[in-house]
Amino acid sequence: MSSNQWEIGPIFRALMRNKVGAILIAIQIAVTMTIVVNSIFIILERAQRIERDSGIDEVNSFYLTTTGFGENFDPKSTAFNDLELIRNTPGVLDAIQINAIPVSGSGWSMSFQTEPGEEKETQGGAIYMVDEHAIDALDLEVIAGENFLPIDVRFRQPGVRDWPDNVLITKVLAESLFPDTPYQNVVGKTIYISQTEPMIVKGIVDKIQAPWVGWDDLEHTVLTPEITGFESNRYYVRAQAGQRDAIMPVIEEALASSNKQRIIRGMRTVQETRERSYRGDTAMIKILSTTMVILTIVTGLGIVGLASFSVNRRKKQIGTRRALGASQGSIVRYFMIENFLISTVGVSLGAALTVILNMLLVEMFSLNALDWYFVPAGMIVLWVVGQLAVFGPAKKAATIPPAMATRTV
């Protein structure tokens, strides 16, 4: 088939004489593209955020809080007895006392530095106070140095301000503190907390997230070896695979009856905690996806509507073209090309608007800048949507009989 039959020139000139409908559709395509592309970009970013691995065995774990009351409540013996009770419960893989839960949104953070003194460069780090069972309970791996020994673990009274001598830190924190040293060689080095108090890095763990999912240094984490004797303490339990839901009530019940001078509350799975922490992101993804789908459908229907209208308006013209020798394919092609021209104006304008909206979002909500390839991808998607939408009306146009040309209506 020769290029003469594509009729791009005449189609374009005819379009220019019926601009209004075409321009409205082009604008609709541009706006749709702008919103769809930016939405997809935001959705992908949010999805990536949600998918980040916390480093712990979320699926099999849960936690609860016990709060003591009464004159005779002894935090220290309670903690040791509780841990022994939990660890000996069938179905439990391991358990620890811990001051904060990863991904939960609340916890402790401190500043760390490699040289003592004021006004040195510091790195923030989340603190998890745990004992030597943390590696198994949290499903971590010591990738350099060694785990805590029972002897490293101290009992921390309320009001104590100093810190244990040995700590474990994550690989990411090791690399942030000592950018020029391989993380293996950070083992044995001294770091300083509260500006001047030294601690020795006893080991490096692979990965555990801090509690705050929105924090930039999400993997800056320090494990300190201590059992705490506060009024309220938290136990983190990792069940054997598939046992979590079965042992949750068992442990709650066992703890409650083993010591009547406390209440147990806030028992929750880590999965639920994650869902709560990312609720905003999940909601955003849902809203943007829905908006996107609705907008695309509306635009598609707009194209179908405009094309159907113009097919009906041009029935006689289509019959005449058929009488003059147009095949059915030529008629379909006419409407496809017409739509392609409209879409091309739409997606070109859309490309500019997409970038502008992204720049505004970057400016106002400090989102990331769009990767360039989102723009051509969006253009192609809307071109395809347009061609699919116009195909039905175009097929219908092709069924208009040539004899329509001689009908006197």
Binding site: Q5, G9, Q317, T320, R321, L324, G325, Q328, T406, T408
Partner: protein, 238 residues
């Protein structure tokens, strides 16, 4: 050249069957100028549509330029229309959004001619109808007679063997009608076979041959022309 033998055409709607053509027989030879007259609803347009491959038929045979067209598919029929037949319609059927140049270009593009070839043919045929200087005008900027001339240019640009016209002067006043007829006669003299449906006896009588259609059948007539009367008309248009 164009031979119809016992051609039948029935239109079926929910309630009625209309036998638009019944055993329609006609032969038109190369170079003829045939005028078709007949009462309204007698089947003239139906005949012309079938002759021009705009419509299919049920029974009988139709040979166009020696080719039996009964079994052609839609695509082949389109191609045949494009190459062999030029159409002229009562209401001109120009495409309102295209200028004269682009209007005449329409069938040439379907023909697949190259750009230069198309340009040459468009200019020649608009020249022939006396509108070469209006190429960039839209149809709406022309009078009815001029529009029909453009339609004739469009029909002729592809050098068809046949020109089929359904009441080409039906929407024109007498003066313009006669000038269109003159143009058709001139075209016929240059070798194009013309079949023209008309209500106007005076116009019909100027054709070389007249046929009369009634109830979907042909009854040939001749010799009803009144030369003196027609010459008077021609004198009137100068």
């Amino acid at each position: 050249m164009l031979t119809m033998t016992d051609v039948k055409k029935v239109f079926r709607t929910d309630l009625i069957e209309t036998h638009a053509l019944r055993d329609f027989n006609l032969q038109v030879d190369e170079g003829e100028f045939v005028a078709v007259t007949g009462p309204s609803g007698s089947g003239k347009t139906t005949f012309l549509n079938i002759a021009g491959l705009l419509e299919t038929f049920e029974g009988g045979t139709y040979q166009l330029d020696g080719q039996n067209v009964s079994h052609l598919n839609d695509r082949q029929r389109s191609q045949l229309r494009n190459e062999k037949i030029g159409f002229i319609f009562q209401s001109f059927n120009l495409i309102p959004d295209l200028n004269l140049f682009d209007n005449v270009d329409v069938p040439l593009r379907y023909r697949g001619f190259k750009r230069n070839e198309r340009k040459k043919r468009i200019e020649e045929s608009l020249e022939l109808v006396g509108l070469a200087n209006r190429m960039k005008h839209l149809p709406s900027q022309l009078s009815g007679g001029q529009q029909q001339r453009v339609a004739i240019a469009r029909a002729l640009a592809g050098n068809p063997r046949f020109l089929l016209a359904d009441e080409p002067t039906g929407n024109l006043d007498t003066k313009m009608a006669l000038s269109v007829l003159e143009l058709l006669k001139q075209i016929n003299q240059q070798g194009t076979t013309i079949v023209m449906v008309t209500h106007d006896q005076h116009l019909a009588s100027q054709a070389k041959r007249n046929i009369y259609v009634r109830d979907g059948q042909v009854s040939e007539m001749s010799g009803i022309a009144e030369p003196a009367h027609i010459e008077m008309h021609q004198a009137a248009i100068g």
